[in-house]
């Protein structure tokens, strides 16, 4: 049984995968499939920890490198909040600003929903 569930902020991952060329799409799909099986036990070099409890899933096709940014959430959810093609050597704080913003939006909405459940 695959214990982990892949989730995404809006359509961030689906749209990125659809825009990738076939080679990159297949590499990323393969690693995503493994991620469902292994969850937080998935090892380097295909995934790696970043700052602020974010992780990256790596894909490389020739000289092009893709990065899918995710975090582990409750109920064994793996939530993807950003995806982009890597330009520099390292993922910087600036690269993670969108991921951070999207995670905040998710958390804010969950808090609102929890507050609503407590009232009703």
């Amino acid at each position: 049984m695959y214990n982990w569930v892949l989730c995404q902020f809006r359509q961030v991952l689906t749209l990125f995968l659809d825009a990738c060329n076939t080679e990159m799409k297949e590499i990323l799909e393969r690693r995503l499939y493994r991620l469902i099986q292994t969850g937080n036990g998935f090892e380097r070099p295909n995934t790696g920890p970043l700052m602020d409890r974010f992780f990256e899933l790596r894909g490389r096709a020739g000289k092009v490198q893709a990065r899918l940014i995710f975090y582990f959430d409750a109920d064994k959810r793996i939530v993807f909040v950003d995806a982009f093609y890597k330009s520099g050597n390292k993922i910087t704080k600036k690269d993670l600003s969108k991921a951070r913003k999207n995670r905040k939006l998710i958390k804010d909405e969950e808090e609102k929903a929890n507050a609503f459940n407590l009232i009703h």
């Binding site: 569930v5 809006r10 991952l13 297949e26 393969r30 493994r34 090892e43 070099p45």
Partner: protein, 154 residues
């Protein structure tokens, strides 16, 4: 539109139907496995890439390349040298496609069953909670029901 949604990968379907996709998928998996195994065993042995390279009679850059998941240029000779240097057994298994697909199918079915089980339990818990709170939705208005059935008849 919800902020967060689950993703379904249609990998199993493609593996079953597309032989080319299947071959690329399995080759990629093998490369991933080699990179992951070498790196994790090297870290377990508390060796740096340079240490391993020295022991295997290779360059550090060669070890770095093998540890990259997208590298396909290794040979059995190289892998045996790395295995010896790490004091490990190198094992090669040929798995028939039908066995791999059957295993994936079994896992996906179990996952779907588990999801349905969770959904049913969540729904049951929700119904019980609504019943305990005596929400109006659980108590249809008898007057309204009678008038609606009369209008349906008439």
């Amino acid at each position: 539109m919800p902020l967060i949604s689950s993703i379904r990968l249609n990998v199993l379907k493609k593996l079953k139907e597309d032989r080319g996709y299947r071959q690329r998928f399995f080759r990629g998996q093998a490369a991933d496995e080699i990179a992951i195994s070498i790196r994790s065993l090297r870290e377990k042995r508390k060796k740096r890439q340079a240490d391993l390279a020295k022991k295997a009679g290779m360059k550090q850059s060669a070890i770095s390349r093998i540890e990259q998941a997208d590298y396909f240029g290794w040979s059995f000779r190289t892998l045996f040298r790395v295995a010896d240097a790490l004091d490990a057994r190198l094992r090669i298994i040929f798995e028939p496609t039908e066995t791999v697909i059957a295993d994936y199918e079994k896992r996906e079915k179990e996952t779907q069953l588990n999801e349905q089980f969770t959904n049913v339990h969540t729904a049951n818990a929700l119904i019980k909670e609504m019943a305990s709170q005596e929400l109006p939705i659980m108590k249809p208005d008898s007057q309204a029901l009678r008038s609606s059935s009369l209008s349906a008849q008439g």
